[in-house]
């Protein structure tokens, strides 16, 4: 019913079927209220992070002992911390690290999950072993897995990314495997196989594209989780090390002064919440439009 009313004009427009479908999808996405709101929020945050040198004093680690614990004012709109560092500057620069960690680990998790899931769906003999390993990893909540891996790798940005990615690979692998198993049985895959296409070609040209919708949806939710998890790791002292600011470690440093100098921990927390909120809104929209049968986030 709903599909029948998707503007017929778009379908008749002289476009390739793929491009027409993409246009219809984009239009439906943009009509989705939470997608629009989430996209705008995220875009603003990303732009502010990119423009950090222009918007702030450009020196997130510069101390200024005379400004110690300066409350929010015209000079320090988010206030200053125990070293007199400008919180606004630190939050903007922290966004760069936090968003990068979230983005990189979500992408890495998606890539790893896609590889594992596709391998498991295609090479049925590997499936048993791979899925048992994934089950074992899935038994752990992602945050604990990330803590464990990060404890082994040591506190650096790269190890946080690897730890978070590894923690979310099993979930992604499951989603891709389930989608791939369905596609695998379709006629055109058989046709490709009969016509002598190589396994790699079939997997990446025919199967993977059909697993993209659920993969993109869960990628979005993993991005939100990764931002929250990075903050938690930093807060526990096993994230990216100070003095480079990340949203999590600004809160951790401000915690001791949370009563007297509440602004130190308040603003980075708001930033995390807003980023996660925007991403979740975006993910809800993507799920509704791309993959309505996907019950809930990864």
């Amino acid at each position: 019913m709903t599909d029948a009313t998707v503007p017929p004009a778009a379908a008749r427009a002289p476009l390739s079927p793929g491009a027409a479908r993409r246009r219809i999808l984009m239009r439906r996405l943009w009509r989705h209220r939470s997608f629009r709101l989430g996209a705008v929020i995220l875009l603003v945050i990303v732009l502010m992070a990119l423009a950090a040198p222009l918007l702030s004093n450009g020196e997130p680690t510069k101390m200024n002992l005379r400004a110690r614990f300066a409350p929010p004012s015209a000079d320090f709109i988010f206030g200053a911390d125990n070293f007199g560092r400008d919180i606004f500057t630190r939050v903007l620069y922290g966004a760069r690290i936090s968003l990068w960690i979230g983005f990189a680990s979500a992408m890495l998790a998606a890539a790893g999950g896609a590889l594992v899931g596709l391998a498991s769906a295609w090479y049925r003999r590997l499936d048993g072993v791979i899925m048992r390993i994934m089950d074992a990893l899935l038994a752990f909540p992602a945050i604990l897995l990330a803590i464990g891996i990060n404890a082994a790798l040591g506190p650096q940005v790269s190890s946080v990314i690897i730890a978070l990615a590894a923690a979310y690979v099993p979930r992604m692998a499951r989603i891709v495997r389930a989608a791939a198993l369905v596609v695998r049985e379709l006629d055109y895959v058989d046709a490709a196989r009969v016509s002598g296409a190589s396994a790699g070609r079939i997997i990446f040209r025919h199967i993977l594209p059909n697993c993209l919708a659920p993969l993109i949806v869960s990628l979005t939710f993993v991005f939100a989780y990764a931002i929250l998890a990075e903050a938690a790791l930093s807060f526990l002292g096993i994230g990216p090390p100070p003095p480079q600011p990340s949203w999590g470690n600004i809160i951790a440093e401000g915690r001791d002064y949370s009563v007297e100098a509440w602004w130190i921990m308040l603003f980075p927390g708001l930033a995390i919440s807003l980023a996660a909120l925007g991403t979740n809104l975006l993910g809800d929209g993507l799920r509704d439009v791309l993959d309505p049968r996907l019950k809930i986030e990864a």
């Binding site: 048992r132 990893l137 945050i143 803590i147 526990l236 949370s258 979740n280 809930i296």
Partner: protein, 314 residues
């Protein structure tokens, strides 16, 4: 049913084996030489060699793995360096704290999350739905350690209603036990409440679309009873399947919450061990938690099998 239990346990054994191998490998990914780290910065070559021999690190990896597995089979999870105590004992001592915290949070999460989800589904596309779903979205977007700090400032520092930290064992005084848990458990539950409310809503909407709901309406069943009897039971079935996941996440989340409220639980032990580079404790704790999660999944599967007639009678 007994056959199902046996089957599920048999299925869990390879998973537990993989968990054990993975935790072993995790600690062997360590950059550098664990013996040097464990012996400490001040140790000389002899001391390091001694540590290496004590831990069996001078042997081939496979032999070490074999030792690790055989020790586990005998209930030996390793020995803590900082506490000078077996890991199993250290974890066991702290188990009641983490379990109390996670279970109280669980008891808060399940009814609140379900009710919110059902309410949103029943009044779908109205302001009630929007309001509830907005709250749920906030729940899954706000970092809980940050909320915890804000909550302490409000309820403990400013209002003085609740203790800001510490844990009172249930045996000492039930009410003080509950008072010490209510704030951390509620904060811990917020994310899961949001998650569960979102899941319940979509499960309920799915159920409300089913043909058997139309059948019930065609029979003249009132809207209230259609929801409470026909739709709710089927929704609950799907909630059971994620409840194990939720409990696991609550245990995982307690690592952070215990840190903020200075509660002497397993999570705190884990973080202290990481800071002190007490690798046997990190390894042993992860492993025991892994076993616990596998166990939770088995229990949930069995509960599901019991409540769903389609599984129960097969």
């Amino acid at each position: 049913m007994p056959r199902l239990i046996a089957f599920r346990i048999a299925q869990a054994i390879p998973v537990m084996f993989v968990v054990a191998v993975l935790t072993f490998l995790l600690m062997h990914m360590l950059p550098g030489d664990p013996a040097t780290l464990i012996a400490g910065d001040m140790a000389d070559q002899d001391a390091i060699a001694q540590v290496r021999r004590d831990l069996g690190l001078d042997r081939p990896v496979l032999a070490q793995l074999w030792l690790w597995i055989t020790n586990l089979a005998q209930g030996d999870f390793g020995k803590s360096l900082m506490l000078n105590q077996p890991v199993a004992e250290a974890v066991w001592e702290r188990l009641p704290v983490t379990l109390s915290l996670a279970l109280v949070a669980f008891v808060i999460t399940i009814p609140v999350g379900i009710v919110l989800g059902v309410v949103a589904a029943v009044w779908r596309d109205t302001w009630v739905d929007s309001a509830v779903m907005f709250l749920a979205l906030i729940g899954v977007s706000v970092p809980n350690f940050w909320i915890a700090i804000l909550s302490v400032i409000l309820f403990s520092v400013t209002l003085g209603w609740l203790p800001s930290s510490g844990y009172v064992p249930m045996g000492t005084d039930f009410w003080r036990w509950l008072a010490s848990l209510i704030q951390p458990a509620t904060v811990l539950a917020l994310f899961q409440i949001g998650y569960l409310a979102r899941m319940t809503r979509s499960a309920m909407l799915d159920v409300l679309d089913q043909d058997y709901i139309r059948t019930a309406r065609a029979k003249g069943v009132s809207p209230r009873k259609t929801i409470l009897k026909h739709a709710f039971r089927n929704t609950l079935m799907q909630v059971v399947t994620v409840s194990g996941y939720i409990l696991s996440l609550l245990i995982g989340g307690s690592v952070v919450i215990e840190q903020i409220f200075a509660m002497p639980g397993i999570g705190r032990l884990l973080v202290q061990a990481i800071m002190a580079r007490d690798y046997p404790v990190v390894q042993g704790t992860m492993l025991m938690l892994g076993f616990a999660f596998v166990f939770i999944n088995i229990v949930i599967d069995l509960i599901y099998a019991y409540v769903d007639p389609r599984v129960r009678y097969d």
